[in-house]
């Protein structure tokens, strides 16, 4: 055994056997953000043999406050490329598999089937439910972590006969129920705590040591250093999933006229008669926005009649494309003479086109 890992192989409850199990393991990390970074830094350091990386975002300035692998020089670069480069320098013995896409219904089963364990390091409900269902279909455990402000969740789902994410939260919350991380914010170090706890559970699952956090949800509140552990049971119906759902996007069934950022940019050049509404919060808007955009935060969209006067075409943008879709649905209901389009991918996509 490599002397590189001596500090853990000398542990009686770990030893060279557990190290070898790590070396022979294949782990997929979905999401290279706040949770994915600490998970990867430690799994790679500890000697997990094969690591799959999956993300399609670029590094942005406001990522640096919590995504500690990225430096200022990396701004604008694809996360996948940066992470691959740095982790290779950290441990040249690791095999990396790069998945240059987001996890979606059409690729989930194909991608996940090759791995022993999946790490849920995503930042949205549709992907979490997709990971859950794909892992149940394929009979793989997955290590869940999620954040909200000063708080975080950790659990190991679908581990042997143990419960799944749907045993805790049966149905995906609607778009307006629970804010996502971008809207809500997160204290920089909290993903570090939750991500390292995810990495620990991953190692325990792979190396078959200790008690795995299965059937228990760890709820951490950083403001008062509280760790609650909630026991919950397997519901058989959730273990019986045999195929993925039709759709993992709550809004997919609604018809929302959509324009992609490239098309919007070319339309914008030709036609000055449109209105562009940015429905993000004032703070987000101040951070960056397109110069012709006016800011009407989503929660004030009902009161924007005045700006719509005499406009035939209105484009709506937000950070990721989620809130703009919601806004268009609301606007359509109120203003029947105007054509509304939501810009898919939002500012995330837009800034990668024109950084």
């Amino acid at each position: 055994m490599d002397s590189r890992y001596i500090r853990q192989t000398q542990l009686k409850d770990f030893g060279p056997k557990a190290q070898e199990k790590l070396a022979n393991s294949k782990v997929l990390v979905v999401g290279l953000g706040g949770l994915g970074i600490p998970v990867l830094q430690y799994l790679n350091a500890m000697g997990v043999g094969t690591i799959g990386l999956m993300d399609q975002d670029a590094v942005e300035l406001h990522n640096l406050q919590r995504q500690v692998l990225y430096t200022e020089k990396d701004l604008g670069r694809m996360k996948l490329e940066v992470v691959h480069e740095k982790l290779t320098h950290q441990n040249s013995q690791t095999q990396f598999v790069l998945h240059d896409s987001f996890l979606v219904k059409s690729n989930a089963l194909e991608v996940i089937k090759d791995y022993d364990v999946v790490i849920d390091a995503t930042d949205n409900f549709p992907t979490r439910y997709l990971i859950n269902d794909a892992c149940v279909v394929l009979n793989k455990p997955f290590i869940y972590g999620a954040l909200h402000g000063f708080e975080g969740h950790v659990s190991v789902f679908n581990y042997k006969d143990g419960p799944t994410y749907r045993c805790l939260y049966p149905d995906m919350p609607g778009d307006e129920e629970v804010p996502n991380c971008n809207e809500n914010g997160v204290l920089g170090v909290v993903p570090g705590i939750i991500g390292t706890l995810q990495a620990l559970e991953t190692v325990k699952v792979l190396a078959e040591i200790g008690d795995v956090l299965s059937g228990k949800l760890l709820v951490f509140d950083g403001l008062n250093h509280q760790f609650a552990k909630i026991a919950f049971k397997t519901k058989v119906e959730n273990k019986a999933i045999k195929e993925l759902q039709e759709s993992y996007d709550i809004s997919d069934c609604d018809i929302v006229p959509t324009i992609d950022p490239e098309s919007f940019l070319s339309v914008r050049k030709k036609d000055g008669q449109y209105l562009l509404i940015d429905v993000r919060t004032t703070q987000e808007f101040e951070e960056n926005h397109l110069e012709d955009a006016i800011n009407v935060p989503l929660d004030q969209i009902d009161s924007c009649a005045s700006v719509l006067e005499k406009k035939n075409t209105v484009y709506v943008i937000c950070q990721s494309g989620k809130r703009s879709k919601l806004a268009v649905k609301k606007l359509q209901a109120g203003f029947h003479n105007v054509s509304f389009y939501h810009i898919s991918g939002g500012m995330n996509k837009m800034t990668s086109l024109c950084p």
């Binding site: 390091a121 129920e177 991380c181």
Partner: protein
């Protein structure tokens, strides 16, 4: 009865804990099950009604709607969180 609040429920209520009366001197109905507690809270904080998925823990165990609650139980509202 003191209820611990996590995630968006803490933001909605604006405090990490919430007191719920456990005696009915006032003549009002006192919640005896998880379902009744949810209804009670929803009346006072209508935004809580929006949450279609909300885990309620009684004494550190996941509770179903028909779980009986007592004044000495430790209750926590744990909504799903999505950040990463």
């Amino acid at each position: 009865m003191t209820i611990l609040l996590f995630g968006i429920t803490k933001d909605i209520v604006g405090s990490p804990t919430l007191s719920v009366p456990t005696s009915n001197i006032s003549g009002k109905k006192v919640p005896n099950t998880v379902k009744e507690l949810k209804t009670y809270l929803g009346k006072n904080y209508p935004e809580l009604n929006k949450l279609s998925s909300l885990a309620v823990a009684v004494n550190n165990s996941y509770a179903e709607d028909d779980t009986i609650i007592n004044s000495y139980d430790e209750i926590a509202l744990i909504p799903p969180v999505s950040g990463g």
